[in-house]
Amino acid sequence: MQVHCICTHPLMRFPPSSSKFLRFSKHFHSLIAPSSSYSSPNFPCFILAATMSTDTLPNPSHTTTQRPVQVAKRLEKFKTTIFTQMSSLAIKHGAINLGQGFPNFDGPDFVKEAAIQAIRDGKNQYARGHGIPDLNLAIAERFKKDSGLVVDPEKEVTVTCGCTEAIAATILGLINPGDEVIVFAPFYDSYEATLSMAGANIKSITLRPPEFAVPIEELKSTISKNTRAIMINTPHNPTGKMFTREELDCIASLCIENDVLVFSDEVYDKLAFDMEHISPASLPGMFERTVTMNSLGKTFSLTGWKIGWAIAPPHLTWGVRQAHSFLTFANSTPMQWATAEALRAPESFYVELKRDYMEKRAILVEGLESVGFKVFPSRGTYFVVVDHTPFGLENDVAFCEYLIKEVGVVAIPVSVFYLNPEDGKNLVRFTFCKDEGTLKAAVKRMKEKLRK
């Protein structure tokens, strides 16, 4: 039996919710600067291309004739990301970018120097596919400190090209077409895309403001013996929510009762401000059914290095490693050596990291509140979501467009993180992984120019 996309009938690609995507993507079309590398008609093109092999694409500037073959049907969810689009627009308008989640300050010197040393020492060739032994060991050691769990670095740790690839490898390695997977909306956009590529049947449970608490009754009625896996992201992007012990206990007992796997994305675990971060794998009965994913990038402000990992019991690790070996085969060697160093940083590094980010959070949150947003408490990550409706724009995309062009600040419209974009149209996400000067400048611009 082979992996394949379940939606083979063309009409199945246009259920009512998809039409919202088409309408939604027209908003993006108006946001795209003409010079951007990845132009917007891509999304409608895939719909067309997936179902009608002989139509030409609506892009007259390319002198290509009849499309020889269509792109694969699995690509419906694969459009240019909102992050790239917003960043292009930000540059065009000279806007301060509080949209894309990477720092405008750099990583610590000791980690960079370790990478440089590795390059000079000639560590530039293929590393073992699932990670250099020293890094696997460092990851296991760090995980023990954080969660109390003892894992075998050789059998239970897989290094990947960033946490994004850990997610892709986990999903492609462990999910069959037609498998039911539960996600909590809003969710990081790669989840839906990759689940789609694996042919999963996605069930979304919406987390709602102000606390974005898990709706337990809805979860109980959604999860069943047919559920293959549930995706958890804690601390949560974009809301900053942290899953509480009560919520995780409940999820755990439902997973055990229904024999469901948990895929846990914990990249922001070191940015847990208002409560202790809890790894689902550490709950009783959970390690054997959980893949715990993390990375170097967010903790060490080196998002472009692409070193991530997945920790799971051997029978699940095997699936992750198989997929990984076809997706990227190996990870950047010098960066792995440096990551091993990074993970052995003293506790003081993490204490200072948290303190720094809490100061930044304070600047941004106070600023957003004073400007007139309804701000929802962010307990972790470097994101905060706000309700923009006091400013009278039609939806989140329109608001973000207005914010860039008229105010000179970038935020991300959150509706893209829902299966049904309507659920998120009142919310936008700001990031505070920027230096204080930038945060203050952004707040100043909003105070001066943002009018209700």
Binding site: M1, G162, T164, N176, S190, A198, G304, P334
Partner: protein, 401 residues
């Protein structure tokens, strides 16, 4: 819990190449199995990477300059016009570019033609995407393409042909005639071509690498995948690319962004320096590798291997076991590791039983267990050490009599 594995994952197995590498490491054997150099990467490129790290090029990025340089290089070497804004996607190595190209184009049941012997990853990738790999055998001893074998393998389900040239494991560089055959087949069948051209700058004698995309009707249906790895001896940096028509590249790029988001940032910066290397760099690359090729051909022929085909490109030599050797390739390699302290790759892993041509008897397939792949991307000292160890090994080789 094992039941939780996806069906695709259950079918796949660990890379035999990696397993042998691990055995070799535990025996301290000289590794002529995995295709990466044991000599340092070029200093100017390493310095560029170090500079990039120091200059804070450490966050997610897409370095458009890479596309600009590649566009220029492809124009100069192949004569193709590539739009750097729309026709190139930067990926985490050629591996990811290929995986993304497959995922972008292959639906369940689509057939994908692969030329046998072939690098093990292609089949696994096609299978993972739900495609059906169809193997067209190249004919020993010179690994020539018989057009009739290709033509009988085509069907209305053929979605793509995968072409790796210069070729791993044989070192073959597909000839103009063979490329024409493949191009005509693609056009008449209206299918795609996905090429792996990682050894594009490593060709020998006067052989020139010609990209399939240069043939009539091919540019609009071909995705070229390649990388820095082999050309610049940085296999561990994971910077590669896919070049092709905008609609395909855009799909590939969108997949790449969801699978890994970005290739390592400092190495993308260093790629700019690499791709700006002067013509002398590429000439030296070729001549250095050619002398290594000549050395290893002479060495292995000297100890009794049958070398009927001398590599015209890539960093591999596909040598046939001596006539009087009764061992299979796997048995021979195990002996080689344990007794000679040299490791190579048994060729059978590159051949696939599911040969699409009819009427190939088991007897005729026996050649599939007679080949060993040696990588010669090693320093002269390493090759000299191999020479000594093999000399001793073959002198005492009773299994040959």
């Amino acid at each position: 819990m094992e039941a939780k594995l996806s069906r695709a994952a259950k079918k796949l197995t660990t890379s035999p190449i990696q397993e042998l590498s691990q055995l070799a490491q535990s025996c301290n054997a000289i590794n002529l199995a995995e295709g990466f150099p044991d000599f340092p990467a070029p200093p100017h490129i390493k310095n560029a990477a170090v500079s990039a790290i120091n200059s804070d090029f450490n966050q997610y990025r897409h370095v458009q300059g890479i596309c600009d340089h590649l566009s220029q290089m492809v124009k100069e070497t192949q004569g193709l016009d590539i739009n750097p804004l729309t026709d190139i996607a930067i990926c985490c190595g050629q591996t990811e570019a290929f995986a993304a190209a497959i995922c972008a184009t292959i639906d369940a049941g689509d057939e994908v033609i692969l030329f046998d012997p072939s690098y093990e990853t292609y089949e696994g990738c096609v299978t993972m995407a739900g495609g059906v790999p169809i193997h067209v055998p190249l004919d020993p001893p010179h690994w020539t393409l018989d057009p009739s074998k290709l033509l009988t393998s085509l069907s209305e389900r053929t979605k793509a042909i995968v072409l790796n040239s210069p070729h791993n494991p044989t070192g073959k560089v597909f000839t103009k005639d063979e490329l024409e055959t493949i191009a005509r087949a693609c056009c008449s069948q209206n299918c795609l071509a996905i090429t792996d051209e990682v050894y594009e700058h490593i060709t020998y004698d006067t052989v020139k690498h010609i990209s399939l995309a240069t043939f009539p009707g091919m540019q609009e249906r071909t995705v070229i995948t390649s990388s820095l790895s082999k050309t610049f001896s940085v296999t561990g940096w994971r910077v590669g690319w896919a070049i092709g028509p905008a609609f395909l590249v855009s799909a590939i790029s969108n997949i790449h962004v969801k699978v890994t988001d970005s290739a390592p940032a400092p190495f993308q910066e260093a790629a700019l320096t690499a791709l700006r290397s002067p013509p002398e760099y590429f000439q030296t690359l070729k001549s250095d590798y050619q002398s290594k090729r000549d050395y290893i051909v002479k060495l292995l022929a000297g100890v009794g291997f049958k070398i009927q085909f001398i590599p015209r490109g890539s960093i591999f030599l596909f040598a046939e076991l001596p006539e009087d050797c009764l061992l299979s390739d796997v048995e021979f390699v195990k002996k080689l590791i344990l007794e000679a302290g040299v490791v190579a790759v048994p060729g059978q892993g590159f051949f696939h039983a599911n040969l699409s041509s009819n009427g190939i008897s088991k007897g005729r397939c026996s050649y599939q267990k007679r080949y060993i792949r040696f990588a010669f991307c090693k320093s002269h000292e390493t090759l000299a050490a191999v020479s000594e160890r093999l000399g001793n090994f073959f002198n005492g080789a009773s299994f040959l009599r």
